[in-house]
Amino acid sequence: MTPRRHLDDLFTAAYDDELSPIDEARFQAHIQTCAPCAEAYAEFRATVEALRELAPARMPHIVHLPSTPPVAERSVRPRIGMGWFNLGIVRRFPATAIAGAAAVVLIIAALAHGNGGTPSPTAGSANGQNAAGAAAPSSSKNLAACTQIIGITGASPPVTFTHQDLATDAAQPALHLVLAAPSLTVTAGKAAYVYAQLSEPFASLSLPGSAATAPAARTVLPCVSIAVMDARSNLFVPIPASTGEFGNPASPGHGTVTPVPADQYQGASGVSGPFLTFEVPAGLAPGTEIHVTATVPAGYTGPGSPPLIAELTLTTG
């Protein structure tokens, strides 16, 4: 047994003055009598202090922002073009142009009414029912972004969806935004599937002072956007019609990205959940990246309404 094995775990707490008085006294007593530990701790401290000596760096050029106001980015159909930047900037900072295009891609569409209706046995059909309800009011067509909530039946990604990105809020550990896919490799011209779900502790939604009840999960569809890297322009562009509101056929942009009945996706028959499908554009070269992004709907009023973001990068095989 070397003393250092025991003290290693305490180095950060000791350095950050987070040891209890008793532990601190023991730590100091040991350090004073154990040369290897004293040397190791000195080396540890030297490392941290050397890190802290690294000079702060300054952003070498200004950050370029779109000319439109922030809230204007809620539009369903993002426009990608040089109008976002002046051409001089594009020439000087091509990476900036790419980043700008990526940002456009992240504009989220969609969601229809969450009517809080009775969930159906499968999430896909549940979405369909909610979608039908949401499609009726003409005002739903005017939704510019994911501003309404679709309640769905809570589920977990099937075991075959091994590629997952889970976003959580430290203040609300029960709040989960999960995005999952069975594979990170997709095929051009064929359908691809992702699983996307936002779940929250129902109890925290109740009014203050209301009778306490056992926490129950509420689950909604998140906003999901999908974009593909264009080989010629080297820009990310949304897959056509992929920015519509999931589950709302009346929504502008609705089309290729739709919830599907659970038994229709590959290899997981009988498993329920919010599965979304989209067509991978035909003709994409192997190795083309497709970014899938899930976010909290803009109209979400759950606890904290955190800016959770889950992302997956798929690649054409």
């Binding site: 000079a55 922030p70 809020d169 976010t295």
Partner: protein
């Protein structure tokens, strides 16, 4: 005006308020990205992309400190760059404009100055040998001086995980530095 007030104004469409957020945080985000990626051009790209992402997500940004959220986005962007980066020849001592970004204390003598430069280089190189998760945690804490709470938000892991990961990262860094040219006398100078 604090971040929350600026954020609220930006959420209502005030572009200048968002620009103020950018001004306030761009250098610390750039510093973090530079220490994680080691390449000024990539770091600048990360900052640019971070703020563009923030710009379009402002309407849904609630319930979290903007600073921690920006760091989280920047970390994700940095990891994206790491995954698909094509190594570019770059002198990490120079920024995108060719300016020296860090020099030893000009008050040091020639020999001390050389040692200091070697130490800085050794620390930077050792940092780049860490796995991305460990690199991020040590940079957030020891370079950017985030609180454990902010780190927990930025890294999306519990505070206990932040602390244990930080301890491991610092230990790994100390071990990596042990074998460098800057190691002799290194501990004594700082002890």
């Amino acid at each position: 005006m604090d971040d929350e007030a600026l954020l609220e104004r930006a959420r209502r469409g005030d572009r200048d308020a968002f620009a103020a957020i950018v001004t306030r945080h761009q250098d610390e985000l750039y510093t973090m990205a530079l220490r994680i990626l080691g390449t000024p051009a990539d770091a600048a790209d990360v900052v640019q992309e971070t703020f563009l992402r923030a710009y379009v997500r402002i309407p849904v940004l609630r319930g979290q400190t903007i600073r921690a959220w920006l760091f989280r986005v920047a970390i994700n962007c940095s990891h994206d760059v790491q995954r698909r980066s094509i190594r570019r020849p770059a002198d990490p001592l120079e920024d995108a404009e060719g300016n020296i970004v860090e020099l030893p204390d000009p008050g040091l003598g020639p020999e001390a100055s050389v040692l200091a430069r070697e130490r800085i280089a050794a620390v930077r190189e050792a940092l780049l040998t860490l796995q991305p998760d460990f690199r991020a945690v040590v940079v957030l804490r020891d370079v950017n001086e985030l609180s454990y709470e902010e780190m927990s938000e930025a890294l999306r892991v519990p505070i206990g995980t932040v602390k244990s990961r930080l301890n491991r990262a610092r230990s790994m860094l100390a071990k990596a530095l042990r074998g460098t040219a800057a190691a002799p006398g290194f501990a004594e100078e700082h002890a």
